[in-house]
């Protein structure tokens, strides 16, 4: 679906941020991208979205080279879910979701009844239809994130790229996003998300890739890649990977930082 081939990126005169990143995003297998702060996750996402042009290598989507696609065509293939921030103006939630229809509008034309129906259906699908008329700024962080996911669904793409969709959400809202992403993957969406919590890779049941110093490890199933030595090397702090053997979470895996000795 979405494929990165030998991506290199560096700012003029700067250190390389990406050095030969390659992976393929497949439908049905959500891919979690882990990596410490400042390691190039954002740069990689920006290259995948066409916001930055890689210094070497290229991105293809559904067989087309991303660099050759117009913004509108690219937006009919890849949808982006940014971290939920407050908008500059007080939009209603439905206005925001309706923005997802932008790449499908004709010249001089506004959204049709069908576009509105698509936007509303996306909100229904995420069980947030009741938020449609609410001001986006007044929603909780979790609700805002869902509105932005709905906007991406309204865009009608098969590829979803999410920038830390669980950041600053409480545990229940994180699990809500995880459940939604699992359901979307089951429907055949190709999903890439970044996260700071390795647990998300286990919870999503797809694949995981690690980005460190511009190099990508994986993608691979979390059980293979997320070992204690690997995570320690990635983050530079001792971490234990603990399979839970009892209780209702039996069978799940937990990544726990080791408390330094006093």
């Amino acid at each position: 679906m979405l494929r990165a081939e030998n991506l290199h990126f560096s700012w003029p005169g700067g250190m390389p941020l990406l050095a030969g990143v390659a992976f393929a995003l497949r439908p049905g297998v959500p891919l979690v991208l882990l990596g410490p702060n400042g390691t190039g996750k954002t740069t990689l996402l920006r290259c995948l979205l066409g916001l930055e042009r890689p210094t070497a290598g290229h991105v293809t989507v559904a067989g087309h080279s991303l660099a050759a696609l117009s913004a509108a065509t690219a937006a009919r293939h890849i949808a982006y879910v940014p971290q939920a921030a407050a908008a500059a103006f007080a939009f209603r939630a439905l206005d925001i979701v309706l923005m997802g229809r932008t790449p499908h509008l004709g010249f001089m034309a506004g959204p049709t009844a069908a576009d509105r129906a698509t936007a509303e259906a996306a909100m229904v699908r995420l069980a947030i239809a009741h938020l449609a008329a609410r001001a986006f700024d007044e929603l909780s962080g979790g609700e805002r994130q869902l509105v932005l996911v709905a906007r991406a669904l309204a865009q009608g793409t098969r590829v979803l790229v999410l920038d830390e969709p669980c950041a600053s959400l409480d545990i229940a809202n994180q699990m809500r996003i995880v459940a939604i992403l699992r359901a979307l993957a089951a429907d055949g969406y190709a999903i890439l998300l970044t996260s700071h919590l390795p647990d998300h890779a286990f919870l999503l049941g797809g694949e995981v890739a690690l980005l460190k110093d511009g190099r990508l490890f994986g993608p691979a199933p979390p059980a293979e890649l997320l070992t204690a030595p690997m995570l320690e090397a990635l983050y530079g702090t001792p971490i234990e990977v603990v399979p839970l053997t009892q209780g209702r979470a039996r069978g799940q895996v937990l990544c726990v930082p080791v408390m330094p000795a006093p």
């Binding site: 066409g50 937006a75 982006y80 940014p82 007080a90 206005d95 997802g100 506004g110």
Partner: protein, 337 residues
């Protein structure tokens, strides 16, 4: 939150502006009864017999008519340009002059007056230098950073300051008895110079620019999400941004060339409009045109009613616009923090 549907509000506003338009023909130092005004109109379509002096017909059709139309057109242009810039820069506090168009136009007009050029040439110079100032701003902004819009605001600040200095220089060079008052009055804004030809000259660029903004209204809507998000929503941000700057600049330069520097319309009206119809640009654009035109017509009526020695339009819009703006901000504060 809007309680009425935008379409309904738009219709109501259109009716109110139409009423104001008709009433405006009664305003002025030369009193003409409403019945006579109505019959002058009807006579144009051969529905009434002429029974009035030629002076009456001249006042209605050649003096008040163009000026009233100019107030509507200029007010609409300034408000639409202001709304466009506010959306483009995602900043509700920018005005149509943000990229230096007013200062450039002011310098053009001052220079024209200094050289003793005829009115049409002064208008033309104001228009061209307004465009030139923005061209310098865009060029400067690009040399700072090709991608970010915000640097354009900084570049606009630089260019505005430079052209304002040039205006001051022109004032010093001007003959203090004739030219200096002309320059001062031009800079304070006013529509008393309006002729049918001058109006026609600005109508074309404003209409073309308005059409461009209308065509891009949904792209602008998505642009409110921020440039990166807009791009991922399929907006060709660089091209759309350039088209918006061109259109809004064309509008402002044309409007300013006709009425001089009239502030507050482009800042105040979009705020009131967003309070009424929400922030979606597709609704903001037509509503801004209507309310901007209506507001400036109302202000110009005040100017015309203020006696033989007119209060300059720019002073009136500031006197009434500034406190009103403070009031609007107090009500909408939570919308932009």
């Amino acid at each position: 939150m809007p309680t009425l549907r935008p379409a309904m509000l738009l219709g109501l506003s259109a009716l109110a502006v139409l009423a104001l338009f008709l009433l405006s023909f009664l305003v002025g130092p030369y009193p003409i009864p409403p019945g006579t005004v109505a019959r002058v109109f009807l006579a144009q379509v051969h529905l009434a017999e002429r029974g009035w002096s030629e002076a009456v017909e001249m006042v209605v059709l050649d003096v008040r008519g163009p000026r009233i139309a100019a107030a509507l057109v200029v007010g609409a242009a300034l408000a639409c340009a202001g709304a466009t810039y506010q959306n483009l820069f995602r900043n509700p506090l920018v005005s149509p002059g943000v990229l230096g168009v007013s200062s450039g136009a002011g310098f053009g007009a001052a220079l024209g007056i200094l050289f003793g050029l005829p009115g049409a040439a002064i208008q033309g110079m104001a228009f061209l230098l307004g465009l030139a100032a923005v061209a310098v701003t865009v060029w400067l902004g690009r040399s700072f950073d090709r991608h970010a819009s915000l640097v354009l605001v900084v570049a606009g600040l630089v260019v505005s300051a430079f052209f304002q200095a040039l205006v001051s220089l022109t004032k010093i060079a001007a003959d203090p008895l004739n030219q200096l008052p002309s320059i001062t009055f031009w800079l304070l804004g006013g529509l008393s110079r309006t002729t049918p030809a001058a109006l026609l000259g600005v109508l074309v660029p404003i209409a073309v620019a308005g059409l461009v903004l209308h065509a891009l209204r949904w792209q602008v809507h998505a642009l409110a999400a921020g440039e990166d998000e807009a791009r991922s929503l399929g907006v060709d941000v660089r091209r759309v941004r350039l088209a918006l700057i061109l259109a809004a600049t064309l509008m402002t330069a044309a409007a300013t060339s006709l009425c001089g520097i009239v502030g507050w319309v482009g800042l105040l009206i979009p705020h009131i409009v967003r309070m009424l119809v929400g922030p979606g640009f597709a609704a903001v654009l037509p509503m801004s045109a209507l309310l901007g035109g209506g507001f400036l017509l109302g202000m110009d009526n005040l100017a015309r009613a203020s006696g033989t020695y007119e209060v300059p339009l720019g002073i009136l819009t500031a006197l009434i616009g500034a406190p009103f703006f403070a009031l609007v901000l107090a009500r909408t504060r939570r919308q932009w923090f």
